[in-house]
Symmetry: C2
Subunit: 326 residues, 2 copies
């Protein structure tokens, strides 16, 4: 009996989830729900349905876990509490400051309906959070460092695209190698924003646009760029399409601590991802397996990666995991 999955939202992340389902033989994609015209969608799974979002309620008994692939700004705050009334759900809500409120809203709705809602699965929040938690529990005295990149920040790319005269743009967040090395060497440096990351921007400008003015507007943009050393490079549309089409990302979570005997210890977790949405989709799918199992045990309510024993993510039995992976 496979775990029957639904996907809500078929952008980059929805396609990443679909790709991940193909790698997990205990799972099956039953339906994709979209706000677009279903006939306009070409999905990669023969046999799965493409349906309007409104039709989701009709498939309540045909789907074990619904994976929500909308955005954190406006989609998920509404969708996750709404759909957990109908399904076990998993989302990748990533607005760190609003996680407590999102958790409470999902928890209340999930408990009323008797379903499971796992929120904030991905890599940050998600795998990075797990590593922050494990490391801080093992080394209560220490410093945490998170570096992101080298990778594409969609929010920063969008911010540049809103500047007059910019046709298209791609922004990379890049950790500063010297800062990373100082942390890895156990020096526990105090690092300013500028010392931790640099920003690289590739811009396609409109013909005749004032390039100096565009570069200055980028470099001086508050919150997004003004606290960073930023490099702006103007390229043509073909170069952007050829060299900057991907969505790589990754980063480092490092805890540098010491035990009571005075010895130093460094715990480092690093991700190098060629495709941010495909990796995030893979995390969501692993937690969808956990959601299904927790629901089968009769558990309900909102959960995060902190609340879920690692074995729930694996298709293998406890015996097999102990024999082969411990």
């Amino acid at each position: 009996m496979t775990i029957r999955i639904g996907i809500l939202g078929y952008g980059n992340l929805g396609r990443g989830v679909e790709a991940a389902i193909h790698q997990n033989p205990d799972m099956e994609l039953k339906a994709v729900f979209t706000r677009r015209n279903p006939a306009s969608l070409q999905i990669a799974t023969p046999g799965a349905q493409v349906l309007p979002v409104d039709a989701a309620a009709d498939l309540r008994d045909a789907i074990d876990v619904l994976i929500l692939c909308g955005g954190s700004a406006t989609d998920l705050p509404e969708q996750t509490p709404a759909f957990v009334r109908l399904f076990n759900v998993v989302d990748s809500f990533d607005t760190h400051a609003h996680i407590p409120a999102h958790f409470d809203a999902v928890d209340a709705a999930a408990k009323q309906a008797g379903n499971i809602g796992i929120i904030s699965c991905g890599w940050d929040p998600g795998m990075f959070s797990l590593n922050r938690l494990y490391a801080s529990c093992i080394l209560p005295e220490g410093q945490d460092y998170t570096f992101w990149g080298r990778g594409v920040s969609q929010g920063h790319s969008d911010a540049v695209r809103r500047i007059a005269g910019v046709k298209d743009a791609r922004q990379y967040t890049v950790p500063v190698p010297a800062a990373l090395e100082a942390v890895r060497a156990g020096q526990n440096p105090v690092l300013s924003t500028r010392e931790k990351h640099t920003r690289e921007v590739y811009v396609v400008a409109e013909e005749g646009a004032d390039l100096d003015r565009i570069a200055r507007e980028i470099e001086e943009m508050p919150n997004y760029f003004s606290d960073y050393d930023t490099t702006v490079t103007f390229v043509d549309a073909e170069t952007l399409a050829r060299e900057h089409a991907g969505l790589p990302h990754g980063g480092f979570v490092i805890r540098s601590g010491q035990t009571h005997g005075g010895h130093k210890h460094i715990i480092e977790y690093r991700l190098q991802l060629e495709s941010n949405p495909e990796f995030t989709g893979s995390v969501l799918v692993a937690y969808a397996r956990a959601a299904h199992r927790l629901a089968q045990e009769g558990q309900m309510g909102a959960k995060t990666v902190f609340d879920i024993a690692p074995a729930y993510l694996s298709p293998q039995s406890g015996e097999s995991l102990r024999a082969h992976m411990l």
Copy 2:
């Protein structure tokens, strides 16, 4: 109300556990149990008792979790099933091939007594196992690599000490940088034992011993050294004491996989530990907290790191973890 801890066995690991308890204000060391003469032990915790092992049963009601700090070869296979009949226990059993049998023995005894027994906590097995599990669940298609070191292998050091003419020795396991770089670069190399690690041995020889013969016996020792490129360096006792007194260790767990869309992803977990026993002791203490909580919930039986939700390791509430660490 603090969590009251007992330590069984006061070698390097027992002292590491004691040091870790000092960093966790929600815990308190009540007693150290030893097979040596208790009067001969000088412990670092004022107010804690030092008692013979036989006295442990008398402190059943005074101790919430007993941390077993014996060796995996002969101590733990007997001690963990025996003491889980009296206490909730945590051990660092690390003979990978015998974990399933150890689990079964502890599980049966723990369920009979209504206690919790968490086995194989440390870094390998332990944190390395967790990272193997998480990474393989997220990237079902991929290759796992584990590198150990640079660090002291006590088993290899002991093996060298048994050679005639050797007064003392210290063996370091060292990952081969080129192999590590090939893995990190996503090349998925097939690596022989020799290609993954080298071994460095520092030997204090007895006066007049045949150094060539000792070096040859080390390099040709089956299982321990013959499959590796080994460097033997003869030093005097003072140099060994000055430069090789510590017990550093660490290593890397890397999964190099790809998602269905064909993109590559590398997940890397790295430890750099100045003191293997102090770090292992810190992991044991974090899981002792989990053991206490699971027991308070009425759970029983054997558990491993795979079975325990990460939040159980932390003294913080779920609310606090979600607000600050997710």
